[in-house]
Symmetry: C2
Subunit: 335 residues, 2 copies
């Protein structure tokens, strides 16, 4: 089997971390076909569109996509983030963001949680308007039964594969009785179909506290789009921060894997960018493709290179971006 993978480096450090991840994938005894595409601010400057239709076609043709990062231009009116468009136009409804302790002093111990973030609706639907001569702005938060049910189902399926079979649904139904309330009700309904799981609920403000007080107590956290954005970033900082945070955007037909970090223009081209979030995202892709044994190997090796300080300066090492990829490849020979 040849895996066809769309590679979208994007802007800033995106291309270099994706190159590092690709090298790791190529070191495995698997066959790859790479389809390279453009995305982001660079694509906008060349083609007038940060997500050209050729790129969307590429993603649709591929078995999966590995995506780097994009730069948001400061003041282009009507510029809509290609990341959001990709998620919505391809209906990549589940954003999975694992957070796991790393063998490094900046990390809290015993954390092994997964944030499952709804990825298509909520305040991200782009329904905004101005009123009263621009004195007032209104945005609509949209929550549907369908999206709430399917994200909860993904969360429960994920929880079944984990040591701690707990799903915590996070909402603000005490204030948003209808919207957050709909998400809560539907998620509890779906959760009741999984008697083997511990399903509980938490207010989003409480969850923001509990992540700090007792992050080790969480299994899967499932929530709506914006809360997932905030809580997953918070959780990632407990275990090393964005240099390591990886994610999957999963739909019915395809999936896009991306490091959570941005394009960090100031670091670009300096061989300083930490590629481990991109490599971790590649491991999630291996899992999605059914190569879960190799996924586990790459994850294990990521932990080993961190423990041995074979890392970039942000984690206290002295290696460059591609050197880290080489270290990962070297360690892979011994697992």
């Amino acid at each position: 089997k040849i895996y066809r993978i769309a590679l979208l480096g994007g802007d800033g450090i995106g291309p270099e971390v994706i190159r590092a991840a690709r090298r790791v994938l190529e070191a495995l005894p698997l066959c790859w076909e790479w389809l390279e595409g453009e995305i982001g601010w660079g694509a906008y400057q060349r083609w007038g569109d940060p997500l050209p239709s050729e790129t969307l076609t590429l993603i649709r043709q591929a078995d999966a996509t590995l995506f780097g990062a994009v730069t948001t231009p400061p003041d282009v009116p009507n510029y809509r983030s290609p990341v959001l468009r990709m998620r919505q136009e391809l209906d990549l409804f589940a954003n999975l963001r694992p957070c796991r302790s790393i063998p490094h002093p900046i990390s809290r111990p015993d954390v092994h949680l997964l944030v499952v973030r709804e990825n298509t609706e909520d305040l991200y639907v782009g329904r905004e308007r101005l009123e009263e001569n621009g004195e007032t702005a209104v945005a609509e938060m949209v929550i549907t039964r369908r999206a709430s049910a399917r994200i909860m189902r993904i969360a429960c399926e994920q929880a079944r594969q984990r040591r701690l079979p707990r799903v915590t649904l996070v909402h603000k139904a005490n204030v948003l009785r209808q919207t957050s309330g709909l998400f809560r009700r539907v998620a509890l309904e779906v959760g009741a179909e999984y008697p083997d799981l511990q399903v509980d609920e938490m207010l989003v403000d409480t969850c923001a506290m509990e992540l700090i007080r007792a992050p080790q107590s969480f299994g899967v956290i499932v929530t709506t789009n914006l809360f997932g954005d905030i809580l997953s970033d918070e959780a990632s900082m407990l275990v090393g921060g964005l240099g390591l945070a990886c994610s999957a955007n999963i739909g019915e037909h395809t999936a896009v894997f991306e490091p959570v970090h941005g394009s960090a223009p100031a670091l670009a081209g300096k061989n300083l960018a930490n590629p481990l979030a991109a490599i971790g995202s590649a491991a999630m892709m291996l899992d999605y493709l059914g190569e879960d044994r190799w996924a586990r190997c790459v994850e294990l090796v990521i932990h080993r290179v961190i423990a041995d300080r074979q890392v970039t300066p942000d984690l206290g090492g002295t290696l460059g971006t591609q050197d880290v990829a080489e270290a990962v490849i070297r360690y892979l020979q011994y697992v």
Copy 2:
């Protein structure tokens, strides 16, 4: 001068922590007149309204109000939180939530920040509707120029009184270009009138991370209602959690001071509730009343009783709720 203070104990542990705070206030060489009022689930059961109009009148008549906590009943349709109604009906537009390191191992060192949360609009306006037979729920997020300007002004005035004259405005304008964008634009405009301050901006997801990575770097964080709810709870957990988190709800004409914690029904009547958040809120009230010297004394003593473990079990002590008040009163004689 006699200060007329409305006392609203509320439900659960509310009355006992407010009693403790009142005793501390009475131990100061100041004159008080207490106006006791009802609020919460108990008030609803007695009067059919969790915020009876008598209570609103009391708050309006008082120089300031000290409020405990309320219980949210699980399934009363159309029950609207009296806390939100109080904030909105009295136009208490600024919610101030200080977070400061405490002399205790559970606290991060060197934190001295203040979250200034807009308290009247955003998704809290209560504009929700169901569509498509309840398959879809929509909530409106409302942001106005007026509320954005006045909350930023409060934030800047607060920052001027602080060691670190930094104001960080927190938004999600990369996605919510019009709503969060309006808040951002107006806040930057108002901020430009304060050249003595360092005014910067941050995305809400980034802020959720930065609070963990470098909480000591923040001065004042100013943001819209829901983000303020989440971030202030997160920040409080860095420095001891809700047992210590105090807050002020400030309007043009009056102000309501409340511990951030809930009514904790399971603890009620057991002499276990930590009264320090209520006592800290009373200190904020002293400040508001112009008794800032006494405010500083009470704050200092709160730190001393914590350092000396004259506290409730949640902070590793063995004292009861009222014993902590007595310890605070005893220490006040020596400052």
